[in-house]
Homo-oligomer: 367 residues x 2
């Protein structure tokens, strides 16, 4: 086994994971149909409902990373020719649009400047044109550091009998997520962000409206692995009968169970407040270096801050020096923000003053 | 964290995993673009080439379980209307056919009795009718315990300019797999069988012929997560530039790296011989209980033995007693073999006389 160096992971994820969560994966394996394992799965499902703020029965971790969660939500509800309206304000909006097109949807992109958020009036105007069956927006845009509020979005969706989808990859467990209150029908996240668990699972939730859409499909879901009806034959224990669908990633489920226990012990509002305080401390610290955040205060995604770079610096060389000299990882800008910003994640246990102080101290002589 | 009981996992997988492999997952996280992590990925890719018996550049672990590997192979090469010939001799042949239909293929099922193997002449006759662009067969049929030889299959495929796909989920690292010698273009496996690693990754390999087929597609691959061209932008380091595609499951890759190191230390031929000897010991032990194997000796899949059940026993009650009284898991029959057979896996470190003795001793008073 290769030796693993110690890193402070302040990029867009994964973040550092506590020793108890990592060590949970070292536990002996159980079979995927073992009653003791299924008890853990049920506990994980219940905890995820609390995190998402939902009573949706169909709430579970997809056996893949966050992008598999995105795919699981889209592949089950889109049929060829469907009109899909996607708010594009960063990489993950682009990805949603790309995926919807792969499934044969007619995609309408509502593009807004990267680093900004949308209001419901603009969404309503776009929906009037697109007449969508599905509206997709990113609650926590990891590429820009924007926390997109969903106020009024569900009303727009309902007016067109459209489903509403939210990408909560970087918001879940770091900022308020309340999908039932928001009227969201489809949501996905990833374990390696504010859940402070290794990457490998994608928590998702489907509302009854979403399940009704799946049930009314004219064509089979063009995936077996992600077909929610097939997955639930294994994951839904309410009938007492469970059938093999795929072999669940046992050790990853152990880790998620342990990570969820840590979140429960802290409490969600304390956790949100900690992420907010850490982001504020980071922005203050960056200010002492003369660096400013990209995103307006009201729209900031606390777990992931984008900071504007001064012209003329070799940003890649500085990131490389941070990694090799200080063991600190931060993220590069993506797409039109490449070379314009850094992405600094303060997620899970890393959302603390100590991470901020360590980073600022390391950055100061490099700038 | 829930307490995990100790089990002897003698079902169809997962099997027990050694402490070093499990503890590899407890190592600190690295970022998915960290040079130290990418060095591990390159090592894993090279080791998988040796296991598969291939020089294919595109050989990597899909970030999902074995079924995601099946899906990754099919989704990249099938287009709507393609003729696909599937050898159906168990659950996984059925699943291949199901998936191919989801992608719009015209599927021809070559059905043979569960528990038997096919010869190339029968495949040639079926291919003459189906004129396939893709031929799929299962090398290690986990539902029946058959090791399907591929002799002559590539010649049939070449005659029709078809690709040849092999499911090596339960054969890889337990019995000979040599995809370049066999002329196989697409192959997938899972980590939780003879690789003796937790479930969560699906090693796959694509030949140049398969990649040429992908490049010639008329339509985009109907998946982003599994699109081999997109995945390789991240996983192919040969150009020096790597782009984010998805966040690799870091800790699972650590485990696979450690599992591959154990396989390398043992040597493949010693490992195959050990699995063969364990299967032989199991069949001898079952014989002392009056139980006989389902599959003819020449076609047996050593890592997974199906054993015929005497009429009139409550097989579910016996499996349950094995689990609750002895901590031993074995597998039920699937499909037409439900209630007819048990499936007993001797995979990875469990392929030894001690597993056999423990199981037979526990079974004897229950029968």
């Amino acid at each position: 086994m290769t030796a693993i160096p110690d890193r402070l992971l302040l990029g867009p994820g994964p973040c550092n994971v506590s020793a108890p969560v990592r060590e949970a994966m070292a536990a002996p394996l159980l079979g995927h149909l073992d009653p003791d394992f299924l008890a853990i799965v049920e506990h994980v499902k219940a905890s995820l409902r609390t995190l998402f703020g939902t009573s949706n029965a169909v709430t579970f971790p997809v056996s893949g990373t966050g992008s598999a969660g995105m795919e699981a939500c889209l592949v089950n509800v889109i049929e060829p020719g469907d009109s899909v309206l996607v708010v594009v304000q960063g990489v993950f909006g682009l990805r949603l649009a790309n995926l919807a097109e792969r499934y044969g949807a007619t995609v309408h992109r509502l593009e807004i400047p990267w680093g900004t958020a949308l209001d419901a009036a603009a969404l309503a105007a776009a929906a009037k044109q697109a007449r969508p069956r599905l509206i997709c927006a990113v609650n926590g845009e990891t590429s820009t550091g924007v926390y997109q509020r969903f106020d009024g979005f569900a009303e727009v969706a309902r007016e067109h009998n459209a489903l509403l989808l939210a990408d909560c990859v970087t918001s879940l467990a770091g900022m308020p997520v309340a999908i039932d209150d928001w009227g969201v029908d489809l949501v996905y996240s990833g374990t390696q962000k504010c859940l402070a668990c290794p990457p490998g699972l994608a928590p998702v939730s489907f509302s009854q409206r979403a399940l009704d859409r799946v049930a009314a499909r004219r064509n089979p879901v063009p995936s077996f692995y992600l077909d929610v009806g097939e997955v639930m034959k294994y994951l839904d224990g309410s009938s007492g009968a469970r059938a093999y669908h795929h072999t669940a990633p046992i050790s990853m489920i152990y880790a998620l169970d342990a990570a969820l226990a840590e979140i429960e012990a802290e409490g969600l509002s304390a956790r949100y407040a900690r992420h907010a305080a850490a982001a504020q401390a980071l922005i203050a610290g960056l200010g002492t270096l003369g660096l400013e955040p990209l995103v307006a205060e009201a729209d900031r995604l606390h777990p992931l801050t984008t900071v504007k770079l001064p012209p003329g610096i070799d940003e890649a060389a500085i990131r490389s020096a941070l990694l090799t000299q200080h063991g600190i990882e931060i993220g590069a800008g993506l797409g039109p923000l490449a070379g314009q910003v850094w992405r600094i994640g303060l997620m899970g246990g890393n959302a603390c003053q100590h991470s901020v102080d360590t980073l600022i101290a390391a950055l100061r002589p490099l700038l």
